[in-house]
C-alpha cells in the first residue's frame, strides 16, 4: 500500500484536468465527430444496399476510415495537451514554486507527459464503442485493432513529447502551440508530400522501386496503413495516391512492416527530445558530468571577465 503512492504531479494534473468541464467537452466533441462520420458512412452504405445487396468491403473500408480519422484527431489533441505544460507554469508564475521542491526535473517532465498520455488513453478507450460499429459489418480481426491502438499510443506519445519539448523551448504558450502543430503537420502531411514527390520523380526517371523513401518512416499514417492488408478494400485510394502511376509498392521493407521502423524513429525522437526538455527544465542542472565539462569552464571564464568590467 505504501509503495502505491502516485507522483504528486501526476495526481494533481489528473485531478485538476478531470475537475473542469473542458475534459468532458473534449471527449464529447471527439466522440461526436468520430461517431457522426461512422454513422454517416454506414448510412451512405445502407442507401446503396438496396441496389447492390450486401457489400463485404464496408467493414474494412469503414475501419480504415475511422482509424485514419482517429489518428488525425489524436494528432490534433496531443500537442494541445502538452505544448503549454512547462511554459504555462512559467506564465502562471508557478514554475519556481514547483522547481524548488524536491521533485527532480525528470520527474516533473515525465509525470506531466504521463498525465497527458493518460488523457489520450482515455480518449482512445472512449472511442472503442465507435470502432465496434465496424464489427457490425465484419471483415476485421480483433488483433488488427490492437495493433492500431498501439500505433495510436506511440504516436500520441511522440507528438506529446514534441509538444512538451516546444513548451520548454519557447517562453510563450501560443508560440509553442503553433510550432508544435507545425512540426506535427510536417510529420503527417510534409513527409507524405515528400514521399509522393520522390516516388513521382523516381517513376518518371524509370527508377521503379517498391520501397518508400526513408522519410516515410517518420509518418504515423504510413505506419498505420502498413498494418492493413495492402490489397484490402479499404486501402485502394491511398495506394493510388502514393503509387503515382508507378508499380505497386509495399509498406514493408525487406519483409519488415513499416510501422516497426516508425516505432524506432519515434523512440529516437522521444528519447532525444525528452533528454533536452529535462535538461532545460532544471535551472541549475543535475547532470554533474555535463556541468564539469561545460558549465564550470564557462563559469571560470566569466570570473576573469568581472575585474575587467569594473
Amino acid at each position: 500500500m505504501g509503495k502505491m503512492v502516485m507522483n504528486p504531479i501526476l495526481s494533481k494534473e489528473l485531478r485538476t484536468r478531470m475537475r473542469t468541464y473542458k475534459l468532458p467537452l473534449l471527449i464529447g466533441i471527439y466522440l461526436g465527430l468520430l461517431g457522426a462520420i461512422a454513422l454517416a458512412y454506414s448510412w451512405l452504405q445502407a442507401q446503396g444496399l438496396a441496389a447492390d445487396g450486401f457489400n463485404p468491403d464496408v467493414g474494412p473500408q469503414m475501419y480504415v476510415l475511422l482509424a485514419t480519422l482517429q489518428l488525425l484527431l489524436l494528432a490534433f489533441v496531443a500537442p494541445a495537451l502538452t505544448a503549454g505544460v512547462i511554459n504555462g507554469e512559467k506564465e502562471r508564475q508557478t514554475f519556481d514554486l514547483l522547481i524548488c521542491t524536491r521533485l527532480s526535473a525528470t520527474s516533473i517532465v515525465l509525470n506531466k507527459l504521463l498525465a497527458s498520455v493518460a488523457l489520450i488513453i482515455l480518449l482512445i478507450i472512449a472511442t472503442l464503442p465507435v470502432f465496434s460499429i465496424v464489427y457490425f459489418y465484419g471483415g476485421v480481426l480483433l488483433s488488427d485493432i490492437g495493433k492500431v491502438f498501439l500505433i495510436y499510443l506511440v504516436t500520441a506519445l511522440t507528438l506529446g513529447v514534441i509538444g512538451l519539448f516546444c513548451s520548454s523551448l519557447f517562453k510563450r504558450t501560443q508560440i509553442s502551440m503553433v510550432v508544435s502543430y507545425l512540426i506535427v503537420f510536417l510529420l503527417l502531411i510534409g513527409t507524405m508530400i515528400i514521399t509522393v514527390f520522390m516516388r513521382s520523380a523516381g517513376n518518371q526517371q524509370g527508377l521503379y522501386t517498391d520501397h518508400l523513401p526513408m522519410v516515410a518512416y517518420l509518418n504515423p499514417l504510413f505506419a498505420l496503413y502498413s498494418i492493413f492488408p495492402s490489397q484490402g478494400p479499404g486501402m485502394s485510394l491511398i495506394y493510388n495516391i502514393i503509387n503515382q502511376g508507378g508499380p505497386a509498392f509495399s509498406l514493408t521493407s525487406q519483409g519488415v512492416a513499416l510501422w516497426k521502423y516508425n516505432f524506432i524513429c519515434d523512440a529516437v525522437i522521444i528519447v532525444v527530445l525528452l533528454a533536452i526538455t529535462i535538461f532545460r527544465t532544471d535551472p541549475v542542472g543535475r547532470f554533474p558530468w555535463f556541468k564539469r565539462l561545460f558549465i564550470n569552464k564557462k563559469g571560470s571564464e566569466m570570473q576573469h571577465e568581472i575585474p575587467a568590467a569594473e
Binding site: 504528486p8 494533481k12 522547481i99 524548488c100 524536491r102 541549475v284 563559469g299 568581472i306
Partner: protein, 308 residues
C-alpha cells in the same frame, strides 16, 4: 546557516550581483534591503537553487548549492515576490500537493496542512478554491507552502508587497510567530520600518554589492542618523540653540518653528544630562526625544550616490 562568498551573477553584460559576501547565523532574521534592481531577487533565487550563479560559493547549512541542489531544496523554504497559484486546486489540496512534492509521507501531510492553515489563519478556507482567495490570503498560503517541509532557512522575497495595511500587519504577526519558533529567515522588503522591529540583522544591497551589513544596532550606529534629537519648546528658542551648540554631543541645530532638531552622538545618560540642563535653565520644554530615525533614513543615506 547561510554562507555567501563572492557571489556574482551576470545576465549578459548586466552585472546583477557583484562579489556579494555575507553570512546568516542560525535563528537570526536577516533583513535584505535595497532599491529595485539591486540584485535582491537574483541573490535569493540563487540561494533557492532557481538560478545558476555566474561565480562564487553559497552554502546552506553546510551544503554547497551547486554541488547538491537537490538537498538544498529540502533545507530552504522559498517564497517569491510574484507567484501564481493553480486554478483548480482547493487550499488543503494545494498544501498537500507541495507537501507531497517535498516527499512528505501521506500520513503526515494532513496534520501539517492543518497546523499551517491554523498558523496562517486560513483554516476556515480549507475547502475554498485557491484562486478565490484574496491577495493577502494567497500571500499567507504561499508562506504556508514554503513551510510544509519544515525548512531550516526561510527565504521570503517581499512577502508584504502589494498587501493592504491590515494584511501587512497580519503578515508581520505571522513572521514574528515564526521568529519565536526559532526559524532562520532571510527577508527582503521595501517597507523598512517593518524590518526594524522584526530583524536581528540587516544587509543593505545596492547595484549588486553589499553596502552595509550587520546587526540592527550596528547599522544604526554605523549611521550618524541613528540618533537625532528633537526638542519642542514654548519659547526662548535662541537661548536654547546657543546652549545646545556649546555641548559636545550635539551637532548643528536646525530650527523649524518651535522645534529644534540636531544630530546627537551621546548615549541615554548624555541625553538625560542635556534635558536636565535645559530644565535647570528654566527653558519651557514641551517634548524632548530622539527623533524617529529609522532604517529608511539610514537606507537613504547609505545608498545615496552609489546608484549609477
Amino acid at each position: 546557516m547561510l554562507i555567501v562568498e563572492n557571489l556574482c551573477k551576470s545576465y549578459g553584460k548586466l552585472q546583477a550581483v557583484n562579489q556579494l559576501s555575507f553570512t546568516i547565523e542560525d535563528g537570526s532574521i536577516f533583513g535584505f534591503v535595497g532599491p529595485n534592481g539591486a540584485g535582491k531577487t537574483s541573490t535569493m533565487k540563487i540561494i533557492s537553487t532557481l538560478l545558476k550563479p555566474t561565480s562564487g560559493r553559497v552554502e546552506v547549512a553546510g551544503v554547497d548549492i551547486s554541488v547538491n541542489p537537490g538537498l538544498v531544496r529540502g533545507l530552504v523554504g522559498y517564497m517569491p515576490d510574484f507567484f501564481g497559484v493553480y486554478d483548480d486546486l482547493k487550499v488543503a489540496e494545494y498544501l498537500d500537493f507541495y507537501a507531497a512534492s517535498y516527499g512528505i509521507p501521506q500520513a503526515q501531510r494532513g496534520k501539517i496542512a492543518e497546523d499551517l492553515l491554523e498558523l496562517m489563519d486560513l483554516a476556515h478556507k480549507r475547502d475554498a478554491y485557491v484562486d478565490s482567495l484574496s491577495r493577502g490570503m494567497k500571500q499567507r498560503l504561499c508562506l504556508a507552502r514554503s513551510l510544509v517541509h519544515d525548512p531550516e532557512l526561510l527565504i521570503l522575497d517581499e512577502p508584504a508587497s502589494g498587501l493592504d495595511p491590515r494584511a501587512r500587519v497580519e503578515m508581520r504577526e505571522i513572521l514574528k510567530e515564526l521568529k519565536n519558533m526559532g526559524k532562520t529567515i532571510m527577508i527582503s522588503s521595501h517597507i523598512l520600518p517593518e524590518l526594524t522591529e522584526l530583524c536581528t540583522h540587516i544587509g543593505i544591497i545596492e547595484a549588486g554589492q553589499m553596502v552595509a551589513c550587520g546587526t540592527v544596532e550596528e547599522i544604526m550606529r554605523f549611521s550618524q542618523l541613528g540618533s537625532n534629537l528633537r526638542i519642542t519648546l514654548l519659547d526662548r528658542i535662541e537661548d536654547t540653540v546657543r546652549l545646545l551648540q556649546e555641548q559636545a554631543s550635539t551637532g548643528k541645530v536646525e530650527v523649524v518653528g518651535n522645534t529644534l532638531e540636531m544630530p546627537f552622538t551621546g548615549d541615554e545618560r548624555e541625553m538625560s544630562r542635556i534635558l536636565n540642563l535645559l530644565v535647570g535653565q528654566g527653558i519651557p520644554v514641551v517634548s524632548f526625544a530622539p527623533s524617529n530615525s529609522n532604517l529608511e533614513d539610514i537606507f537613504m543615506q547609505v545608498t545615496k550616490g552609489v546608484v549609477q
